[in-house]
Symmetry: C2
Subunit: 194 residues, 2 copies
């Protein structure tokens, strides 16, 4: 095996995704390009096509990486909120989503990109499943109303995502952002419990 033999790279696929993540953090979507990622790995652009069927698949892999990073944040937040009522944990997860979007707007622009290719591994930390698990706790014991679960999941996800996007694009002031997050999430909580 032996990594970096001078000619062969050894683990180019992972290196490409790593480089893509770094470029995304630095330059946002416009930095995530086949040629730039390849150059960042010290490799020709054509080498990418040995590991991805197209450039879109590479950038989809970087986007998936970004989603995993975000999901890890949300799971960590959830761990530190263990023991709290489900509705409070749901709020913390939403706050985590919004905080990530505002702290890493360039990475977030990949997260919120429509998924062109399905992710390779589905067993990774997954934000939707996380939300669903908490929402299920809101159901009365014994009877899960699937429709109620769906609408609660959708409300949680849609409001968090929509709020993140609007704050990022239209509310530059950090203090105003905090006020709005608190006010909106209060209302979302009411809607979730209805």
């Amino acid at each position: 095996m032996s990594t970096r033999s001078g000619y062969h790279h050894g683990a180019l696929r992972d290196a490409l995704v790593d480089a893509g993540e770094a470029l995304a953090r630095a330059d946002g979507l416009e930095g995530v390009t086949v040629r730039r990622i390849a150059a960042a790995c010290g490799v020709s652009a054509a080498a990418v096509y040995r590991h991805f069927p197209s450039g879109d698949h590479l950038i989809a892999a970087v986007a998936q990486r970004a989603r995993e990073i975000m999901a890890r944040d949300m799971f960590a937040r959830l761990d530190s909120a263990a023991g709290k009522p489900a509705i409070d944990r749901l709020r913390e997860v939403g706050e985590s989503y919004i905080a990530f979007a505002l702290a890493e707007p360039r990475l977030f622009s990949l997260v919120s990109m429509p998924m062109t290719a399905p992710p390779d591994r589905l067993d990774d930390p997954n934000a939707a499943d996380l939300v669903r698990d908490i929402v299920l706790e809101l159901e009365p014991p014994g009877e899960v109303d699937e429709q109620r679960v769906s609408s609660r999941m959708m409300l949680a996800q849609a409001s968090a995502h929509g709020l993140a996007v609007i704050l990022r694009d239209f509310v530059p002031d950090a203090q105003a952002r905090e006020m709005l997050i608190a006010g909106v999430l209060d209302r979302v909580g009411v809607g979730l419990e209805a």
Copy 2:
């Protein structure tokens, strides 16, 4: 003056935006490019730069056009809901937003693009002002709590936008979409009145 003299175009700026709108409807974001829009107008790509400082400004103009089209839809829906309580009109506006996003997903991808350049005219139909006007009716007479108004506006806009995006990307089935829209907007209504 005389339009179309064979060499001079006459009203190229508007024609470019019109062509951009048509291309956006047909091919989505990837169709909205300087060269293609110029070609659709029977004009060279460089001609664009006599009317827009950069290609981004042209596509921003097309995006603004898309927002105006959407806003017109929403105003029309509002007209047909005149007389109903404010909370019901708010819901209809939200339904209109979501319906447009799902009916014209390609145009909507321009709408939800971050605005690079401020629109030329701000006096046009504007979705945010529309929402604000209705939300103001929810305030108790005499005392408007600006913070409450903001959080209600944000909840309305964020949930509609987020729901539209999630449905577009992850819920292909029309019937499932309707169920989710109804269920989520019910909950949003509760949160708005809180």
